[in-house]
């Protein structure tokens, strides 16, 4: 990997019940993610994706390019806007730096419906063979 190289884009469409499965898998049962009525009551357009689910997609884009789970050493994201179920997510990223010790630094974002719901995600990778 060299500066300017792009990560393989990752595309995934969370299905209607994804937020329920992710709530069970992660232990985060905040009703804004799983209860349509509650989400409307607090002024949201409907149930929203867990931010950490979306971050997990950014992480997958790194480990898919880095060669596996041990390759990802650091990931930092800012959450902006809200993700929703049943609309495709696209994670894209670019290598910004390769350090002398072999650490590959990338900058990524996650878009949904042309909105960036995660931006300026910075990752450090140690590539696996």
């Amino acid at each position: 990997m060299q500066p300017g190289d792009e990560l393989e884009p990752l595309r995934i469409t969370p299905d209607k019940y994804l937020t329920v499965r992710y709530a069970g898998a992660s232990g985060d049962f905040n009703p804004i993610h799983i209860d349509e009525e509650f989400a409307h009551e607090v002024g949201l357009p409907g149930r929203i994706l867990h931010g950490l689910y979306t971050m997990a997609q950014v992480a997958r884009a790194q480990t898919d390019s880095g060669g596996g789970p041990a390759s990802l050493k650091r990931l930092s994201v800012q959450f902006r806007g809200m993700g929703v179920p049943e609309v495709e997510l696209t994670v894209t990223g670019t290598v910004t730096e390769v350090r002398d010790d072999g650490t590959v630094v990338t900058e990524s974002s996650c878009e949904q419906d042309r909105k960036r719901i995660i931006r300026n995600a910075e990752a450090e990778l140690r590539l696996e063979r």
């Binding site: 992660s26 971050m55 997990a56 997609q57 480990t63 650091r74 990931l75």
Partner: protein, 146 residues
């Protein structure tokens, strides 16, 4: 209600999470992981691991028993109804595999008020049975209109 900066530095009792094989698989399926290291014990053992490997973001699962009580701490006083997750950082050490017990300690690293919003930054430090730090997390939560 003003942000209680006196609580900065407050450290919570460690919480231990036993990482299970089926929990890793359940999490991996939920986030769409297809790497067999997370799903197939034989594939993981063929690569030298004792059992299936947790995806890096599985950190949210083993951190939760430690981070959750901190979010609800009365002294820190976060208004959960107005809280949004503003940012997240993880730094990883050795990978976590099924069968390990991971112990996480959470503390309030910073609390401040900017433009009428409260910013609360928690730090979680997770260690494996060998004493290696497997993950350090920085959890930034924003409370609108404090």
């Amino acid at each position: 209600m003003p942000v209680n900066t006196a609580a900065i530095g407050k450290t919570f009792a460690p919480a231990t999470y036993a990482v299970g094989r089926e929990k890793i698989r359940e999490y991996a399926h939920a986030v769409g992981e297809t790497n067999p290291l997370h799903l197939d014990v034989d594939a993981a053992r063929a690569r030298g691991y004792d059992d299936v490997v947790a995806p890096p973001m599985f950190a949210v699962v083993y951190c939760l028993p430690s981070v959750w009580p901190a979010l609800f701490d009365e002294e820190i006083g976060i208004d959960f109804g107005h809280m949004v997750h503003g940012g997240q950082e993880f730094e990883w050490g050795p990978v976590v595999v099924a069968g390990e017990e991971i112990t996480t300690t959470t503390s309030l690293k910073d609390a401040s008020e900017r433009r009428g919003n409260g910013f609360f930054v928690f730090e979680s430090v997770s260690v494996n049975p060998a004493g290696d730090t497997v993950c350090t997390g920085l959890w930034t939560n924003i409370v609108r209109g404090v």
